[in-house]
């Protein structure tokens, strides 16, 4: 009796709760975490960029082939290697109704460059001035030639905000952002939802079919997937590789898999403080032996259902600057043992690996532990909460560090910062003047073929000779959505662009 009443009650609740959404082109998108502040100048998280894709248009965008395409700009031209002319789209309006002018572009770029605590500063600090040429054109002057500059304007540094709204709100602009994207901001309830609605005066309105977008942060993978399966979400940002089979069996769901821009790798402490004084830190042959003991394909199979792409470099195969000559070497335990003998180190060689405390990364570390043991390494796993591990890495309090990078479209964003002696995220403090020279040259080289050759040589030295780091694989962006939703174009940056999306 009680059970019957309870069941009836639940059914009644259910009938009322699943009734809405007679599909009025409203979409609910599940995110992996709650985005940080929604101010393009102060924002840092990847999930935040997914929301910005609906909220704030950029001067340029990248397409699925990683080509730079116009968005709020219509084109660009280098007057000389230190002066960039950008022509602007006419008739663009901000969400507050103000028109976008050359002045708004100058204002936004200066805000990115000079606002206190701006995370865009590092991306565009080669810019010395930005000026209005005429109402349709701005000129950007650079301190020195910098080939990836236009590419920086395809992300948050290229987002143009309404100067009036930004001036009025100051540092609280992110609580009510006003940009020129397809959707305007409606509300945000921290850790619960971010709601955007269609902006009728959007410059490219004919490609926008959705009326309302709700982003819902759901950190638990199982629960996020359950929401997609039960129809409480129409789309999720990521599906874990081990859930893929289950989703593929569901006829009402579709997945879209694309290569990411970044990589997963092992940073080795070569010169950052006392903890670099280990056989691994001091001897390239020991590092080579370690790498030869690892079977990337097998780890990928065991932990990620074979979904990821094994690699030996920072730039994924989908990128035109991927160096074909740098491929992962096959596992060779005998050779690894021989290298350790040649290096004259006592086996087992003790190595500590710092691992962010996620289930999949811990599993990766355990498989590596078993693999390198056969070659004569004693790997100790130090699982650490992510925030603490980042600080340990910066301080040099690590021997090796299993770390991922979300990646940038331009190869400079995956290399210079991590490999150059002055690279701010070069946690292992690897340093080789020849490698630095090649990285600097690649920054100013505008000819694609020559630039690729520079990167190829840089990898030959920094990886094949110095073995400064071990790249493991490129992950995949696995987006899941209802089959009723059409028009989704996966781009390697993993963002969800709303243009073309519609429900049938």
């Amino acid at each position: 009796m009680i059970r019957k009443t309870l069941a009836m009650g639940l059914v009644a609740l259910a009938a009322l709760s699943t009734a809405p959404a007679a599909q009025a082109q409203n979409i609910r998108i599940g995110l992996r975490e709650d985005p940080d502040i929604l101010d393009p100048t102060l924002a840092r998280t990847f999930v935040g960029r997914i929301v910005f894709a609906g909220l704030c248009d950029k001067l340029f965008d990248i397409n699925d082939k990683l080509e730079i395409v116009p968005q709020l700009a219509t084109g660009y031209r280098w007057e000389d290697p230190q002066s960039l002319l950008i022509t602007l789209r006419q008739g663009v309006k901000f969400h507050d109704g103000d028109p976008m002018t050359a002045e708004s572009v100058v204002y936004s770029l200066n805000r990115h460059l000079t606002m206190q605590g701006s995370f865009r500063r590092g991306e565009i600090n080669s810019m010395t001035a930005v000026e209005v040429v005429d109402p349709q054109t701005v000129r950007i002057r650079l301190r020195e030639p910098f080939a990836p500059f236009v590419s920086q304007l395809t992300d948050r540094a290229g987002m143009i905000v309404s100067p009036r709204a930004a001036e009025a709100a100051g540092r609280n602009f992110g609580n009510r952002p006003v940009c020129a994207g397809p959707m305007r901001f409606v509300e945000r309830v921290a850790q619960d939802r971010i709601v955007l609605e269609r902006f009728p005066e959007y410059w490219d309105a004919s490609r926008i079919h959705l009326n309302r977008v709700t982003y819902l942060p759901i950190p638990d993978n199982t629960v996020r997937l359950a929401n997609l399966q039960s129809g409480s979400l129409e789309m999720v940002q990521t599906i874990e590789p081990d859930d893929l089979r289950q989703v593929n069996r569901n006829s009402r769901l579709r997945v879209s898999v694309s290569d990411e821009l970044g990589y997963q790798g092992i940073t080795i402490n070569i010169g950052n403080g006392a903890r670099a004084q280990t056989p691994m830190g001091q001897n390239p042959r020991v590092r080579e032996a370690f790498e030869l003991a690892i079977d990337r394909a097998a780890i990928n199979q065991v932990v990620y259902e074979g979904q990821y792409t094994p690699t030996a470099q920072a730039v994924p195969p989908s990128n035109p600057f991927h160096a074909r000559s740098i491929q992962p070497e096959a596992r060779n335990v005998a050779r690894a043992r021989q290298l350790l003998a040649e290096a004259g180190v006592r086996t087992p060689v003790p190595v500590e690996m710092t691992v962010p405390n996620n289930p999949d990364l811990r599993q990766v570390a355990e498989v590596i532990q078993a693999m390198v043991r056969e070659a004569g390494f004693e790997l100790r796993i130090n699982a650490m909460e992510f925030a603490s591990s980042l600080q340990a890495a910066t301080r040099g309090d690590f021997e090796t560090y299993l770390l991922a990078w979300s990646g940038r479209a331009d190869p400079d964003g995956n290399t210079w910062t991590f490999i150059h002696t002055q690279g701010p995220q070069n946690d292992g403090k690897y340093s080789n003047p020849e490698v630095d020279r090649l990285l600097n040259e690649a920054r100013v080289e505008t000819d694609a073929a020559k630039r690729l050759a520079l990167y190829e040589r840089m990898w030959q030295i920094s990886l094949r000779q110095d073995r400064h780091r071990i790249y493991l694989w490129h992950r995949k962006n696995i987006v899941g959505h209802s089959t009723r939703l059409t028009g989704f174009v996966p781009v390697p940056d993993g963002l969800i662009r709303l243009q073309g999306l519609r429900f049938n």
Partner: protein, 315 residues
């Protein structure tokens, strides 16, 4: 009575001061530079990190940081979240109704299941009914919330499609949808508390039932119903009320795991995310608010004793 109440309220102030020391001090022990964590992947620019430290006063001595915080708190300003720049007061006020609703629903479920089951099991001591009730309680105590939560989501949302798997809708926006989103987490939380209440009610009832006055009452020919209700239960309830307020306080402090699983934007989720992001002002604000709730609840418990037990009023 009034003097007692005033004294009791007076004790709250030093308690809160000591608490504020502890909150601030413990937080300093957390590893990780907040500026670096705030930057995350964008930690490349040392100048920007320095600007953040200056803005957030992280470059100042700890004592100065503490006094600055306390000075603002006394004026009702809890600061703003470093991560999303929303005022902490707004965040607390936003999450409080959610947590109160969830805690109240869970607590009602706990009382409705736990207390009658405890009475039944004490009255029917050492019978199959008692064993069954104890079995249910054991299950409730030993089942982890996250497991029960996931299982319920898979059954009621994915398989049967009866309830939304997660999320929250405020009661005043859509009461039905609000109940639909909170019934599963409330049940998960409630059953855990119910088991504790059941065990304590049972023990208290057994003690009460073995007292002399019960025998006297029975000897006078008072009906068994009345013996249990008016004589045994009323005395047995005192420890249960104490425990109940403590458990309710714990529910109000936010149910970390349950809120994470069901993505309920309450206190627990707020503070856990803030700890992982080293969002100090949020951690400080929420912990202080939670402590205040606890202190007030224990005051209410003391007042309730007086109401239930007239003998205490003379003391």
């Amino acid at each position: 009575m009034w003097a007692w109440l005033l004294r009791r309220i007076g004790q709250i102030i030093p308690t809160l001061i000591i608490l504020s020391f502890m909150i601030f001090g413990l937080q300093q022990l957390m590893p990780g530079d907040p500026a670096l964590i705030l930057a995350g992947e964008e930690r490349g620019d040392p100048l920007v990190l320095q600007q953040i430290r200056e803005e957030l006063k992280l470059d100042r001595p700890i004592v100065e940081q503490y006094l600055y915080w306390v000075g603002n708190v006394v004026q009702g300003d809890f600061g703003f979240s470093w991560r999303i720049r929303m005022p902490v007061t707004d965040l607390i006020l936003q999450k409080l109704p959610v947590t109160i609703q969830l805690a109240t629903m869970s607590f009602l479920i706990a009382i409705v299941i736990g207390v009658p089951l405890g009475i039944l099991s004490a009255v029917k001591r050492d019978t199959p009914t008692d064993w069954a009730a104890n079995g249910v309680a054991l299950f409730g105590i030993s089942t982890p919330n996250f497991w029960l939560g996931i299982m319920m989501i898979l059954l009621f949302s994915v398989e049967l499609g009866w309830l939304p798997p997660s999320g929250y809708v405020p009661l005043w926006e859509d009461p039905v949808q609000s109940l639909a989103t909170t019934i599963m987490p409330a049940f998960v939380l409630g059953t855990g508390v119910a088991s504790v209440l059941m065990r304590h009610t049972r023990a208290a009832m057994l003690t009460a039932l073995s007292q002399d006055y019960i025998r006297t009452a029975r000897a006078k020919g008072v009906s068994e119903k009345s013996v249990i209700r008016r004589h045994a239960l009323r005395n047995a309830l005192i420890p249960v009320v104490t425990l109940g307020t403590i458990e309710f306080g714990r529910l109000l402090a936010g149910a970390v795991l349950t809120e994470q699983i069901f993505t309920i934007p309450g206190f627990g989720k707020l503070v856990v995310d803030a700890v992982f992001n080293r969002d100090y002002p949020v951690v400080q604000g929420v912990v202080l608010a939670t402590a205040l709730i606890f202190v007030l609840l224990s005051l209410i418990a003391d007042i309730l004793y007086m109401a239930i037990n007239p003998r205490l009023r003379q003391a």
